[in-house]
């Protein structure tokens, strides 16, 4: 089956602004957008640049804006996108580096600001695990699946307006540790969360929630964090 992909091309060294270029590719049934990009790169234009690695939806490299919506190229079947030309563009909200590749440094920096590690001043028991019930673990099952693909943060209008806003991915990480019964880091994380660039920039716009390839209900997690801050503070 033949498909047309309208791909964003941008080369900073050329001094030209980015533009959309059409490529027509022949694809087998079940082919994904990543397969399509691979075919273009292999046989039409080797200079096309995009990030990719696992092609099975677990590494988070190939998040991009496909038909106006952030998703993983490797998980998106070309067939599901209709017969019109498929728009493939880089993640919005980040500085484009080249073609479909964007500068994710702000993303990582924001993530690291949430102190994303287990904080517990008490030494763990020797030679056994810290106990945690299945119900307590259930709180972590959703946030722990985050693959840090940046789809959510890149889809957030609040992030577009403020690049130092932690963003949904970092807040998901904060939730992951804050609601881990083994963690006692709230005192250290509070100022980052309860901040002009923290929780309160979330206006429940839901873009993060809608595009998360792992179906994490990030907005719900952010609400839990907001309530936790309010409760602990007043």
């Amino acid at each position: 089956m033949q498909y047309t992909l309208r791909v964003y091309r941008y080369d900073p060294e050329s001094g030209q602004p980015g533009r959309l270029v059409d490529y027509t590719v022949e694809l087998e049934k079940g082919a994904t957008v990543l397969d399509a990009l691979g075919e273009i790169k292999a046989h039409q234009d080797g200079s096309l640049v995009y990030r990719r690695s696992c092609r099975s939806g677990i590494c988070g490299s190939c998040a991009m804006k496909i038909n106006g919506f952030n998703r993983l190229a490797c998980e998106t079947q070309v067939e599901s996108l209709g017969r019109k030309p498929i728009h493939v563009e880089p993640l919005p909200g980040f500085k484009p580096i080249k073609d479909l590749v964007v500068d994710l440094e702000p993303f990582w920096n924001n993530l690291h600001r949430t102190l994303p590690w287990l904080i517990n001043p008490n030494p763990p028991p020797t030679d056994k695990e810290r106990p945690q019930s299945p119900e307590e673990f259930a709180w972590l099952e959703m946030p722990m699946t985050c693959i840090l693909c940046a789809s959510c943060t890149s889809s957030c209008p609040s992030f577009w307006a403020d690049r130092t806003y932690l963003g949904p991915a970092a807040l998901n990480k904060a939730f992951r540790y804050e609601f881990d019964t083994r963690d006692q880091g709230f005192g250290q994380r509070r100022d980052t969360l309860d901040n002009r660039h923290g929780l309160w920039r979330c206006h429940t716009i839901m873009n993060c929630n809608d595009c998360c390839p792992k179906h994490i209900r990030i907005t719900e997690e952010i609400s839990w964090l907001k309530r936790k801050v309010v409760e602990e503070k007043y």
Binding site: A161, T192, N195, L199, K226, V229
Partner: protein, 131 residues
């Protein structure tokens, strides 16, 4: 992390929601009283009578204060969202607070200072002005 103006936000967030909930109820009341209970007639007489009672004065004052704070905190939220230059933000925050205070005082004075002439002026005096 950043401290001073712009840090925190928990109270504003929580207050917006609580005041919002109260405002929804207050608005229902306001609309009902204003537009439906008297078939939409709004006359000096009716308003004046209502405002003469301390209960209504309190209700209206609360309503006023909540509405002003809710609305102006909304503006502050927008400023925080989109204005990142420190000076500009300070200026706008100050401006929003100033206008907010002025409006709140103005409204409060109206409610408190709204002395209806007692006894209430006879309707003929107002006569033709009313539909």
């Amino acid at each position: 992390m950043e401290r001073g103006i712009g840090s925190g936000g928990a109270f504003a967030w929580f207050f917006q929601r609580i005041s919002g909930a109260v405002l929804v109820l207050a608005l229902l009341l306001h609309f009902w009283v204003l537009h439906y209970s008297n078939q939409g007639e709004v006359t000096f007489e009716i308003v004046a009578q209502r405002l003469a009672t301390p209960v209504w004065k309190t209700i209206d004052l609360t309503f006023l204060v909540l509405a002003v704070i809710h609305g102006f905190w909304g503006f502050l939220m927008i400023v925080r969202d989109y204005v990142h230059s420190k000076n500009m933000r300070l200026f706008l925050v100050a401006a929003v607070w100033t206008v907010g205070l002025v409006i709140a005082v103005m409204g409060a004075l109206t409610i408190i200072g709204f002395h209806p002439p007692l006894p209430v002026a006879p309707p003929e005096q107002l006569g033709g002005m009313v539909q």
